[in-house]
């Protein structure tokens, strides 16, 4: 369902905001990108510690497609579950409305919905089976004023369409740090990596990765121990 809603809303020019978490967030971001849309991911840590690790490439793709990564934290702060409620507050703050796909009793989605209510934003929910773990959560949200929808179109008819961004809007990258050394640097700032790990994560040709790593070694940015590369400690 997340896919269906994300796709249809994106096609109509909606910018999808989510938290880059595994599961619904990932589906929302990915589908939006697949439809050629722009999406915003609000992070629970700094940019050097994309969490979860599996979504590092997704984060990159988001930026490359004209989207946005937002973080309240300085780049070297590690992602922490303590930061997530605050992150969810921001998600709600920058959004017109919140769509809850799944709402477990103690889920992040409920927290986001709670903030949305505080901020007088609309909260939409979709039907869930009565015996699912989400049933109670959905019920609570409805009692607190959420709106049940069955189609993406229903959301579109209830929000301010002035903020929709047509898909054809060209993307202008103003300050691109395109040197892939940045990406290798980001990986190594998280922790030392083997060559193969770097190749897998960045999905680049091994030769190119090796060339960049050699350059970093020569420049004194990175050091090589066996087949593990790590950042040189600054004195």
């Amino acid at each position: 369902m997340a896919k269906k809603f994300s796709a249809e809303l994106t096609r109509n020019g909606m910018v999808i905001v989510s938290g880059l978490a595994l599961g619904i967030d990932t589906i929302a971001h990915q589908t939006c990108l697949e439809e050629g849309g722009k999406t915003i991911a609000v992070l629970g840590g700094g940019f050097h510690y994309i969490y979860p690790e599996e979504n590092y490439q997704l984060a990159q793709a988001i930026v490359e497609n004209g989207g946005l990564l937002m973080s309240e934290y300085s780049p070297s702060v590690q992602a922490n579950t303590k930061n997530f409620p605050k992150r969810n507050q921001i998600i709600s703050q920058i959004s017109q409305a919140v769509l809850v796909i799944e709402a477990g009793i103690r889920s992040g989605a409920k927290i986001t919905a709670g903030y949305a209510k505080e901020q007088n934003k609309k909260v939409f929910v979709i039907p869930n089976p009565l015996d699912s773990k989400n049933a109670k959560g959905i019920q609570q949200l409805l009692e607190r004023g959420a709106t049940m929808v069955f189609q993406p179109a229903q959301i579109l008819s209830q929000i301010d369409t002035r903020y929709l961004v047509p898909l054809s809007t060209p993307v202008k990258i103003v300050h691109a740090r395109h040197t892939k050394q940045t990406n290798i640097y980001s990986l190594l700032s998280q922790r030392p990596h083997t060559i193969n790990e770097i190749v897998q994560k960045l999905q680049e040709k091994p030769q190119q990765i090796l060339q960049k790593l050699s350059m970093m070694e020569i420049e004194g940015i990175a050091i090589k121990e066996g087949n593990i590369y790590k950042l040189k400690e600054k004195r």
């Binding site: 190119q208 060339q211 960049k212 070694e217 087949n227 593990i228």
Partner: protein
Amino acid sequence: MQIYSICGKLQYESSLTWQRPFRSPHHSITLTGMLGGGKNPLPGEISLAHQGVLFLDELPELKLAVLEGLREPLEERKITINRNLISVSYPCNFILVASMNPCPCGYYGTKKPCQCTQEQIKKYNRKISGPILDRIDITIPVECVGYDKLTCLQKSETSEQIQKRVEKVRKKQKQRYKELGIQTNAELPTKYIEQYCTLSSKSKKILKNAYSSLQLTTRSYMKILKVARTIADMDESQYIQEQHILEAISYRRKEE
């Protein structure tokens, strides 16, 4: 073939072997077995691997004397054995291929947890001394084959395809060195390196920086140039460019 004939290893009396030798002695081999010797000095594994490949699995498991004994053969491409007033020289121009684990338990740097202490890892790696590492042109880490890759139906380059590429480059090198009487970049004597391994100005700068910041030795400097020349050959490039030098540098391994 003459070497094999001395050892009585020729299978048929008057046959000519057309295949290059592939020797893979067990790591418990003795110094004599490896370098040659015995009562009437016979060739060792290194000479039996002449013009072919010497494969040493589990390199750190070799006896220290045997490992260090490889220094001269790797450098000179021939070995002189002295025994009982007899002095015999055997050629040993082989390609050394060796394998080793990253640490005693084998899992350091992989997804599985490594059981070794830092000291154990250092001790294990120190068995391969600086001078030996310096004589090794290319070091490549190989990881465990993940289940996906093992069962993947997607085909990568076949051995035949790779062989074709290699043969093409060998032909090119043979042509290049016709006048010198050698066949490969590896055999190129030091005095000719500058002439045949032309660098672009950017590459010169990179290699210069690398020499100081990576504390290269003269030997490793020359070897990097030769490996870069081969990488450039495989890239069908006339000159050695920055990417070739950088790749060659990445294959070096320093002493721990």
